[in-house]
């Protein structure tokens, strides 16, 4: 059974190419949400095995979304991998939120990204 990945990123091209690359492996089913504000609902609805979450977004910042996801019983067990153009932890405004979540810096190639996904994805759903 394919793993479900939710990508929350306002960068449509990037999200689309990551989706294409992940689906190309045949192992993943991917949904994209371009609006941060819709991230929680999308997660509740889609029930992904992992969320790839952008940090800097125009409406709701990724850190806040992560916090909401962790506070909601329906979504709190979903692993989150931050995917961001920010480079160091110094740059991340909500350091506490990012702490404890893995961190992948753009531009990332697909093999590296899959490696991180595999390390963090929910194991029990397999």
């Amino acid at each position: 059974m394919k793993k479900k990945i939710l990508i929350v990123d306002d960068e449509k091209d990037f999200a689309q190419l990551v989706k294409m690359n992940l689906e190309l492996t045949g192992k993943y089913e991917v949904k994209i949400e371009n609006k941060g504000a819709n991230a929680l609902n999308a997660a509740k609805e889609y029930k992904p095995d992992l969320i790839l979450l952008d940090i800097v977004m125009p409406d709701v910042p990724g850190g806040k979304i992560a916090q909401n996801l962790k506070e909601n019983p329906l979504t709190r067990d979903i692993p989150i991998v931050f995917l961001t153009a920010l480079v160091t932890k110094d740059e991340v405004p909500q350091e506490k939120i990012i702490a404890g979540h893995p961190f992948v810096s753009k531009p990332v190639n697909i093999d590296e990204l899959i490696k991180v996904i595999e390390e963090n994805i929910k194991k029990e759903s397999t």
């Binding site: 960068e11 190309l24 480079v87 740059e91 753009k106 531009p107 697909i110």
Partner: protein, 475 residues
């Protein structure tokens, strides 16, 4: 008859006197009566002559007495015969007190008087002879003595004129005045000399102040240039963050696109594969530059721990070796430091990677790179770092030096001034961003250490890094 005879005798006598006194009368014939008449008239004549003489005498006397100078007349032996009033007044003696006394008692000493008297009797004149006379009150007054000798009744009389003191006194006064003026002059000279000395020392002090000012200005200029650097940095930081986002997303798209093309196409022509690989490499390069920019602007906090500089240098060398091959470069390690340095290891490693990369790139074909470490004190390396070293080190502070020296092309004097400036590079053609040394400088400064570059064109370059040493209990 007796009377007559007597009278005749007296007249005869008188006649003799008259004949003696008035020889021209002798030849004239005179009768007795005539004689008597004549005698009477002679007596009257004599009387009037006498009166005249007395008048002249008293006139002379008055002149003498009115003299302000002392006039003493003595005999040949020096016994006082008379003294004028000025003499009495100045010396304090009455004439009768000193008459017939030897002049010597007025002199300061008997021997001085004898000496002078010998001179007087021999030369019979003397002028402006400086002597001192004693007054009755015991005062000593200086005189200028002039002496002349006259003969009177076949006896020598010595006339001594002691020139009145007023002139001499006023001269002395003048002299005193002059002495005062001279003294004042001397004092003035002394004051001038002192003032001059003070001025000299003031000038020296001024020079010191000026030197100090120049030094301060240099420091200020340095601080200013550092501030400008810092401002540049913060501007770069802001730009870098923005650029990072704006550029990293498109770069991400390109990478993901390349990945997709490579993986989705079952058969990719060899040429196309090469193109995709070039795209991937150049995305990496662009990303590296952004990474450098971010590192440069974001280095703010350090995680400082005591660490071993030798192993840091070794590791930096290994990292450089992975990126660049240098078969023709001989690496000579002289790692003697025993101290632990206070460093943020990954950041200091980055510094030495940058320095070693530069060293390798500076060697065109074949050469040597020396990597050294040793322990010293700040004082001993003062001349290396100059003024700057006081900023971060105490003179007696233990420090560790890490050095990288190459036998490469060297850096021109002009470029040497700019090597720490961000974006200064001579390697544009080979993709240098001009940030390596700027980042290194910043990192070393955050460590409160110092970095100095010495270079000679055609001979090579030496980069010297001074680092703080962990205290014994920290080691």
């Amino acid at each position: 008859m007796f009377f007559y005879k007597n009278l005749e005798k007296r007249l005869k006598k008188l006649k003799e006197i008259v004949q003696e006194s008035f020889p021209h009368l002798e030849k004239e014939k005179i009768s007795f009566a005539e004689s008597v008449d004549y005698a009477s008239s002679l007596i009257a004549q004599l009387k009037s002559e006498l009166e005249k003489t007395q008048k002249i005498n008293s006139y002379l006397q008055r002149i003498l007495q009115s003299l302000k100078d002392i006039l003493i007349i003595s005999n040949e032996e020096g016994k006082i015969k008379s003294i004028n009033r000025a003499g009495e007044k100045i010396l304090g003696y009455k004439e009768e007190e000193i008459k017939d006394k030897s002049l010597s008692f007025l002199w300061e000493s008997e021997s001085l008087f004898k000496e002078l008297w010998k001179k007087i009797t021999k030369e019979e004149s003397l002028s402006e002879y400086q002597i001192n006379l004693k007054t009755k009150e015991g005062k000593t007054i200086p005189f200028s003595l002039s002496v002349s000798v006259i003969k009177y009744n076949n006896k020598k009389e010595i006339i001594l004129l002691f020139k009145n003191m007023r002139y001499l006194l006023s001269f002395t006064e003048k002299e005193t005045g002059i002495r005062h003026i001279l003294e004042e002059e001397r004092e003035r000279k002394e004051i001038l000399k002192k003032a001059h000395q003070e001025m000299e020392s003031a000038q020296l002090a001024l020079l010191n102040v000026i030197e100090d000012l120049i030094r301060k200005r240099e420091e200020l200029e340095k601080t200013q240039s550092m501030l400008i650097q810092a401002e540049k940095l913060s501007a770069i930081g802001q730009i870098a963050s923005g650029v990072a986002h704006e550029v990293k997303n498109p770069l991400g798209v390109i990478i993901q696109g390349v990945d997709y093309l490579e993986k989705s196409l079952s058969q990719i022509p060899q040429e196309a594969k090469k193109v995709l690989e070039m795209m991937r490499e150049n995305v990496k390069r662009a990303d590296n530059i952004i990474q450098l920019l971010l590192n440069y602007s974001k280095v703010k906090r350090l995680d400082i721990k005591p660490d071993d500089i030798n192993s840091i240098l070794e590791e930096a060398l290994t990292l450089v070796n992975q990126r660049l091959k240098f078969e023709n470069i001989q690496i000579i390690k002289e790692l003697h430091s025993q101290n632990k340095v206070l460093v943020d290891r990954p950041k200091i490693e980055q510094v030495f990677v940058n320095i070693l990369l530069n060293a390798v790139q500076a060697i065109p074909y074949k050469g040597k790179i020396f990597i050294r470490s040793y322990d010293t004190t700040a004082k001993e390396v003062e001349n290396i770092f100059g003024e700057e070293h006081r900023k971060n080190f105490e003179p007696q502070e233990d420090i560790t030096i890490a050095e990288v020296e190459d036998t490469g092309i060297g850096i021109t004097e002009e470029n040497l001034k700019k090597v720490f400036e961000p974006f200064f590079t001579t390697k544009l053609a080979t993709g240098g961003a001009g940030l390596g040394l700027a980042v290194s400088y910043r990192i070393i400064n955050l460590h409160k250490g110092l970095i100095k570059i010495k270079s000679q064109v055609g001979k090579g370059t030496k980069v010297i890094v001074g680092l703080k040493v962990a205290k014994k209990e920290q080691q």
